[in-house]
């Protein structure tokens, strides 16, 4: 559907409703027109998530902290998994924070269309907003959990390196991957309700495949290049290196991971835009 770029041409530019053919790109100008809606939907997610809980936003910290404790006991103490010479709690926490964001966003994004069916079957707005909302709303939790890293670093006497400036770039990479997966999976989930169940397994598998509980140094050198195509490998190992400074920034992993992340995002967007025309029919 054609939308005008600015409001002055809007009056002359008619809206044409007809069967869509072929692949559609993301219509950025239309998304900008809906910026107020995007803002309120994100605020709805942020405000509603911890409503009627006793602990409220403390959960954003408690969840990764509980994970850290369990990981430190099971993987650090019992299984004696190496942690590149770092104290295991902070080694794992620096990974659990980005991982929790990624896994939660991907899962919520997958179910977002099913949950949002009540809206998009009643009113038009760019459907793409729906899977993106939990991705952005999840950043609030992420930032809260992330801030605790500095407290832990102070506790262990670790000073951050200058590489901390690359963290925003890693966050973008993480968002690209999560939203790319979200677009794929939500578009599939609206027609096949097995997908949200499957994603539970997928996120488990992806967690063990990611260097959350273990360091990338365990991967044999010869496989490291291929392993890098898993975007979360570069993101997580990058977080650790930027914050804790025990290793140089893993640019090789980040480079290959970026390729995958961008591909997932682009093809996810195309897939979603192709599928969106039937959402209201199959829901």
């Amino acid at each position: 559907m054609k939308m005008s770029k600015n409001s002055t041409t809007e009056i002359n530019q008619p809206l044409i409703i007809e069967p869509q053919k072929g692949w559609q790109v993301i219509n950025w100008s239309e998304l900008i027109k809906y910026k107020d809606l995007i803002y309120f939907l994100i605020m709805r997610d942020v405000k509603a998530i911890y409503k009627q809980t006793v602990l409220g936003f403390s959960w954003a910290i408690l969840r990764p902290v509980f994970h850290m404790i369990v990981f430190s006991v099971v993987f650090g103490k019992l299984a004696k998994i190496p942690s590149d010479g770092l104290p295991y709690p902070i080694f794992s926490y620096a990974a659990i924070v980005p991982w929790t964001y990624f896994a939660t966003s991907m899962t919520r994004s997958t179910s977002s269309l099913i949950g949002g069916a009540g809206m998009f079957t009643k009113v038009y707005f760019p459907r793409l907003i729906i899977p993106f909302t939990p991705i952005v709303a999840g950043l609030v939790d992420f930032i809260i959990a992330f801030s605790l890293i500095f407290a832990l670093m102070a506790w262990y006497g670790i000073t951050p390196t200058v590489n901390i400036l690359f963290i925003p770039f890693l966050v973008i990479l993480m968002i690209l991957t999560a939203s790319g997966m979200g677009m794929w999976l939500s578009a599939l989930a609206i027609q096949y309700r097995d997908v949200p169940y499957g994603v539970q397994f997928l996120s488990q598998i992806m967690m063990y495949a990611a260097p959350v509980a273990w360091p990338v140094s365990l991967i044999p050198e010869s496989y490291r290049f291929f392993y890098g195509f898993y975007p979360m490998a570069g993101v997580i190992e990058g977080f650790r290196a930027a914050l804790l400074g025990h290793n140089p920034m893993p640019w090789d992993l980040i480079a290959t991971g970026s390729i995958t992340a961008i591909l997932i995002f682009i093809f996810g967007a195309f897939f979603f835009r192709r599928k969106e025309r039937i959402f209201a029919d199959v829901v």
Partner: protein
């Protein structure tokens, strides 16, 4: 009609219904189908969105088919039709919620669609937060809502609870709030589905009033409703949709009457009656409806006096014959008109009854019968059809309930005509 704001050309929408569940009557059958069910289910779900060209299998329905019309600026179009006729699908296509399968629509101007009130409301958020959320979903900007906020809150009549989460609201308060937002939409084109059917009577009237205010400002409105009164009051034009196609398009009163009396043109003011059983002493021949002017008609106004003529044949001398006609409103018989019983020779006779019962606008069907010694020898159910329209004639009629009445005290004379 001003400049055209909506052009609809050959719009069609195909759906696949289906997803029929299979039943198994044996354990083995049940287990076998469970084993293959993933494949079967996958095919079914996939088929929901896959259509082969020229696919006309029996689980495909065309909810909307070949619809074309133009709508001018300032027109208020009422769309009427039975449930499942395709009204809502048409609105959904024009609202861009579903994509058409064929054809196209061109819309000039900012559209807001109101297929439901309170879309996107979140139970955990306060009334105020939900006003912003719902308002932006309906297409208002944040600034627009902020300027109208006080007005919206006043309209909703729930000022006291505006900062309470809506989950604490009664359902009435919830609907009021939702409506208050919707009522303050100011698009160039407004698409409204049957949303006025909720809320209490007083509030509903307030909303209807607000809508006609909006209508007066020259906005274009498309309005679906089963409430003929509302359609009649608000709309400047109406479209009747039947089986996904436009059946009638034109003046509101005419389209409504076409919807209410679908068989008006096919109805006859005179009908032949079927023959009798063997050995019956007589049979009905013809049932005719006449206006006061003795011209055949089957469409009368409320309060108008008209006549029913019942012609019948008697084959042999029969004692104590009475002819009867019973107008009924579907299942409710209103009255039975009868003639005074007389002994009749073989011949053709006519009985005439004056219909002077004060009924409201309705549809009437007729039963006819012949009796001898109070025993029925000829009976035919559902003969003829008369419409009584809403237009008053003569004295203001007394409105009656469609209660079954049987009044025996008015006797008419039988006239020997042949």
């Amino acid at each position: 009609m001003g400049r055209t704001v909506i052009k609809v050309r050959n719009l069609g929408k195909r759906y696949r219904i289906g997803l029929k569940e299979e039943l198994h009557d044996s354990l083995i059958g049940g287990i076998a189908s469970w084993a293959v069910s993933p494949f079967v289910n996958f095919r079914k779900l996939q088929r929901l969105s896959k259509f082969k060209s020229q696919d006309e299998s029996d689980d495909i329905i065309w909810a909307v088919r070949d619809i074309s019309f133009d709508l001018g600026e300032g027109e208020i179009l009422g769309i009427i039709g039975h449930n499942g006729a395709g009204k809502s699908t048409l609105l959904k296509i024009l609202s861009r919620i579903v994509e058409p399968t064929t054809g196209k629509a061109i819309v000039y101007g900012r559209v807001s669609s109101l297929l439901e009130v309170g879309t996107g409301f979140h139970r955990e958020l306060t009334g105020r937060e939900n006003i912003y959320l719902n308002g932006t979903i309906l297409g208002m900007s944040k600034l627009e809502i902020s300027t109208k906020l006080d007005e919206i809150i006043a309209f909703s009549e729930i000022e006291k609870f505006i900062d309470t989460p809506v989950k604490r609201y009664s359902s009435g308060m919830y609907v009021r709030l939702a409506f208050a937002v919707a009522a303050h939409l100011e698009p160039e084109i407004l698409i409204v589905d049957e949303v006025l059917a909720v809320g209490d009577v007083q509030f509903r009237r307030k909303c209807l009033g607000k809508m006609s205010d909006v209508a007066k400002t020259g906005r274009t409105i498309i309005f679906v409703s089963h409430n003929m009164g509302a359609i009649h009051k608000l709309c400047t034009r109406a479209i009747l949709i039947k089986n996904g196609m436009i059946e009638e398009d034109g003046k509101v009163a005419e389209v409504i009457s076409k919807y209410v009396n679908p068989n008006l043109s096919e109805m006859q003011s005179s009908m032949m009656l079927p023959g009798a059983e063997e050995n019956s002493p007589g049979r009905g021949l013809q049932l005719t409806f006449l206006g006061a002017d003795n011209i055949e008609n089957n469409h009368f106004n409320m309060g108008e006096i008209w006549k029913i003529q019942f012609e019948f044949e008697i084959f042999r001398k029969t004692p104590h014959v009475s002819a009867a006609v019973g107008p009924r409103n579907f299942d409710v018989s209103i009255k039975t008109f009868r003639t005074k019983p007389v002994d009749l020779e073989a011949g053709i006779y006519r009985a005439e009854f004056e219909f002077n019962i004060p009924v409201k606008s309705t549809e009437l069907q007729f039963s006819v019968g012949l009796t001898t010694n109070e025993t029925t020898f000829y009976y035919f159910h559902n003969a003829g059809h008369v419409s009584i329209s809403e237009i008053y004639e003569g004295k203001h009629p007394v409105r009656t309930k469609d209660a079954g009445l049987l009044i025996d005290d008015e006797f008419e004379e039988i006239v020997h005509i042949q």
